[in-house]
Structure formats: C-alpha cells, structure tokens
C-alpha cells in the first residue's frame, strides 16, 4: 500500500516527531539568520562605501536590477572553491575545531531569543544566563584558533582577544543584572513583557548607562571596530584568523556576523522593548497599515537593523582603540559605572518608581 507522506508522519514514534519538529524550527531560525549574515556583509560594504563617498560593490548581479546585490553569493562561491591550507606544525584537530566553536556559540544563543510573544524555540527560565554562558564560549573559538595556528600573529591576536573579552564580559554581565533587576526575571520573554507600552516604558530610559555600556561591550565582545585589536590588520596582519583560508575563514566570518546580529537583537529585546511598537495601542485601528503599527516581529527586526547600522557606523567613523585604552575603558570606566547604576536601579525598583517599576513584579 503506497503511503502518503502524511500517514508516514503519523506513524513515526513520538520522540522522533519531537526531534524533527525541533529541527524544523531550528531551520526556520537558521536560514533567515544566515541570509541576514550574507546580506549584512553587503550592507556593510555599501553603507561604509556611502559614508566614505564611494560606491561599494556594484558589479555582480543579474536580472538587470541594482547591480551588486549578488555580491554575497559570489563571495560564498569564491570561499567554497578556495583551498584549505594547513599551517605547518599546526594542531589539526583544534585548528578545525576553532571555527566550529565560534559558530556554535554565535548561533546557539538564538535558541532562547523570542521573536514575538510566544514565538521562541526554547522558552527557558534562565534565558538570560543561558545567553551569557553561551556567548562567553565564543572566545574559545578565537583563542583556540590563535594557538592552534602555530603563528605569532595569531597567538598575539588570541591573547588580545582573551584579555579584552574578560574585561568586557564583566561589564556586560553587570548590565544584564540591571535588566534582570528591572524586569524581575531571567526569562527573555518576560523581560520584554515587562517593557510593555510606548517608547517611554522601554528600559533604555531607566537603564540608560547600562544600555550604552551593554551595546559598547557587545561591540567589544564581537571584536568589531573600534575594538578589533584581535584582528588588527594594520598591526598583526589579521590576528587570530591569519592562517585560515577558504571555508575556515568563511566560518569565522559567519560567526562574527551572526554574533553581531545576536548582540543587536539582544539590545533591542532588553532595552528597546523587543517586538513592541513605539506607537500607542490606538494606532492599530488605522486602516490598511494598522497591523504594521501594532506590536510584531517586524519591530524587532527594525530595531535590530538599527543597532546593526550603528555597528557599521562605528566602523566607518572611529579609529581603533589602543590595547591599554581598551583595558582602561573596560575595567576602570564601565565596571564602576555599571555597579553604581545597579544600586540606582535597585533603589528605583524598591521605591516602585513609575512608569517602569510601579507594576508588581
């Protein structure tokens, strides 16, 4: 008897069904994410180009529309076809493992990101902790890559990155503690729900110093300009990934951009109200575009895009920080500021200061 796909599905054992459903959801998250990464690279080159009064990529493309749009595809094909070069005396296992760790950390954190109320892969209680723990693993990709490459420049890059990430992770963690205090929960969905309302109700206002510090630390965590000393192409060639070619390099590239998008999305979720709309509730009654003005995933995407734009803007604008200046900023400026502001937030929460903290936790 010929089986239709539907009956085949129904006949599968239940655990397998669960696993398949989860895998399907993961694909639903990963495919748009990887596409975003691809087009983020294009956006970066275009935007920086415009900022510097250049054209940016403007050759690759077909169908006759805006030339340059197929640039990421061309890049991908090029990367795939390049040779994977093994450095002499490199530790082969770790050399391959490093980019995988980097990518896993950057992608794994997306499991707990809520895209809309209830639209999340894993609605875990300790979501915030999970995010912190997983993102802190990303540095291993860089350190292991630097060490396994058996190269001076790579090792220097890895050392720089390790020290930098430790410094900024603390500030980042403290900023998140502020969010946790304000929202009274470690669950990312509930953190967004605690920001229900308009622009004024979002946490960026009461947690303003933490908001700024979180985003800057996020830039430092992802090793992006002006904190990109781990790469420092003018000083140590390309830092930790100097020995990587072909797909190894591509995976690092992917991980870096996925981490950027993650930080941008997290900033939007925790400080800019996630999927909430800046317009009042009455705006949903507007004809035609009412749905768009109400809360929804598009707002999260917009806010994320805004922060991604900031990333690119920074890169085009600021010169690279010197290593000791980075350390000073992290340890001597950010950490004290976050600690002081934690105290302020705690007092505000205890005093139930409206409009943010007057609802029962």
């Amino acid at each position: 008897m010929p089986e239709t796909p539907l009956t085949l599905w129904a006949s599968l054992p239940e655990p397998l069904v669960t696993v398949l459903v989860i895998l399907f959801k993961i694909t639903l998250i990963l495919v748009p994410l990887l596409l975003s990464v691809a087009y983020l690279t294009l956006a970066e080159r275009k935007i920086i180009g415009w900022i510097q009064v250049r054209m940016g990529p403007n050759r690759v493309g077909f169908f006759g529309v805006a030339k340059g749009w197929a640039q990421p595809i061309a890049d991908l094909v090029k990367m795939l076809m390049k040779e994977f070069i093994w450095p002499r005396k490199a530790n082969r296992f770790l050399f391959v493992l490093a980019p995988i760790i980097a990518l896993t950390a950057a992608v794994g954190a997306w499991a707990v990101i809520p895209f809309d109320d209830g639209l999340v892969l894993a609605d875990v209680n300790a979501g915030l902790l999970y995010i912190l723990a997983i993102t802190s693993l990303g540095v291993y990709g860089i350190i292991i890559a630097g060490w396994a490459s058996n190269s001076k420049y790579a090792l220097l890059g890895a050392m720089r990155s390790a020290a930098q990430i430790i410094a900024y992770e603390i500030a980042m963690g403290f900023a998140l503690v502020g969010v946790l205090l304000a929202a009274g929960s470690l669950n990312l969905r509930e953190i967004v729900l605690a920001q229900q309302g308009g622009v004024i109700d979002w946490f960026w206002l009461p947690l303003f110093p933490l908001f700024v510090i979180y985003f800057i630390s996020g830039v430092a965590e992802t090793n992006r300009a002006p904190f990109d000393v781990a790469e420092g192409e003018s000083e140590i060639v390309a830092g930790f990934h100097v020995e990587y070619s072909g797909m190894g390099f591509a995976v690092f590239f992917l991980a870096e951009y996925a981490a950027m998008i993650l930080i941008a999305a997290l900033t939007a979720l925790m400080f800019l109200g996630g999927w909430y709309s800046p317009f009042p509730d009455t705006a949903t009654e507007t004809p035609m575009i009412g749905v768009l003005l109400g809360p929804g995933i598009h707002w999260l995407v917009l806010k994320t895009a805004f922060f991604l734009f900031l990333y690119l803007w920074f890169r085009a604008t600021f010169p690279r920080y010197r290593y000791d200046q980075i350390m000073r900023l992290g340890w001597k400026v950010f950490i004290p500021v976050t600690i002081v502001w934690l105290l302020v937030v705690a007092v505000a929460v205890m005093g139930e200061v409206p409009p943010w903290f007057n609802h029962p936790l």
Partner: protein, 194 residues
C-alpha cells in the same frame, strides 16, 4: 530512559576529560580538557534541574576563569620534561595511596549507603519552578552570613592579588587620559611668526 542515556554519555565524557586533564602532555591540551570537563558537569547539573548552577559554572569557570588560565598557559613556554622527572620515582607511592583511597571510597560511598532506596532522587519540579529564585531566596535569607563571608573571601583574594603584583616603578611614563582629552590647542600648538 533518554535521560539515563544522556547521563551516562555525559559522565563518560566527564571522566575521560578528567583523566586527560592530568595525563595530557601539553598544558594547553590539559586546560582545554578541563573546559570540556566543566561543560559536561554543567550538563549533568542541567539533568538535575539545577540550571542556575549549570549556567554559572559555564559562565564563570569556562567563560572567565579558564580563559585567563589559557591566557597564562599559552604565554608560558613550559618545558614538560623536567616536570616529569620524579614521575616514575613517585609512581609506586602514588598508586598505593590512590588505590587505598579508591578502595575506601568504594567501600563506604556506594549504593549500599547512598542508593536510590535510601536517598531517593529529588522530586521533579514543574516548568514553572525557578531554580534561580529558590537559590536566591535561600542565599539571601538563611545563608546570608556564609554568603557575606564568601564575599569577604573574594575581597581578600582581590586585595592579595593587588598587593602581590602591583608595584609602582619609578620613571615610567604613564598616560593620563583625563589630561589627554582636556588638552587645548594652545597647549600643543605655538604659532611663530617668521
């Protein structure tokens, strides 16, 4: 059933990683195996629904402590050979002591005294149960005093680290960023009429 499978899987990796930590010839490899051991023990804690401890283990030990460890280990050019010189000489004593302790432990801390019939597994809590909240409540009420002392111990560690490493060298040119940013044009540029 699946849970047990996970448990034995993670335990096997944990034991393997633990053995490798002390037998690995390369200190960087040893440190990386320690990372693996931390990650697997975090997974074991997750199986026990102790998600806060699991996450904190990864966050603190894997994410921060071991990174610094690797930082130091990679910088040091440790020659392994002299470290292993006494290995054979002390091996018999080491094996003897280890076996003795292992036998003692096996005799005392076994299923006979800590089996599931004597010490039942903790009750499974529902999805609403927050391990973090419970821990927080316990730490800040019943265990306030030990918690504060633990904080003081960390303070001592910080003071000790600073006092043992910080030295004010004479004649070192320091940058003062606050002066750098307040500098004005008149301080640096002097226009001379030619």
């Amino acid at each position: 059933m699946i849970e047990q499978l996970f448990f034995y899987g993670f335990s096997a990796i944990l034991i393997f990683a633990g053995v490798m930590v002390i037998t690995a010839r390369n200190s960087v490899h040893a440190a990386l195996f320690l990372v693996l051991a931390f990650c697997t023990s975090a997974a074991l804690w997750l199986l026990l629904e102790a998600e806060f401890l699991a996450m904190t283990l990864v966050l603190v030990y894997v994410g921060a402590v071991m990174v610094l460890f690797l930082f130091v280990v990679m910088m040091l050019d440790v020659n392994i050979a002299p470290l292993r010189e006494g290995f054979i000489r002390y091996l018999p004593v080491g094996i003897l002591v280890t076996t003795l302790i292992a036998v003692e432990l096996a005799m005392t801390v076994g299923a006979r005294r800590f089996g599931l019939d004597i010490m039942p597994a903790p009750v499974r809590q529902g999805p609403e149960y927050s391990n973090t909240e419970t821990l927080g409540l316990a730490l800040y009420t019943d265990y306030l005093y030990p918690f504060e002392i633990a904080a003081v111990i960390l303070l001592v560690a910080m003071v000790a680290a600073i006092v043992l490493t910080m030295r004010r060298r004479q004649g070192v040119k320091h940058q003062k960023p606050e002066q750098q940013v307040t500098v004005r044009r008149e301080d640096r540029v002097k226009l001379v009429k030619m």
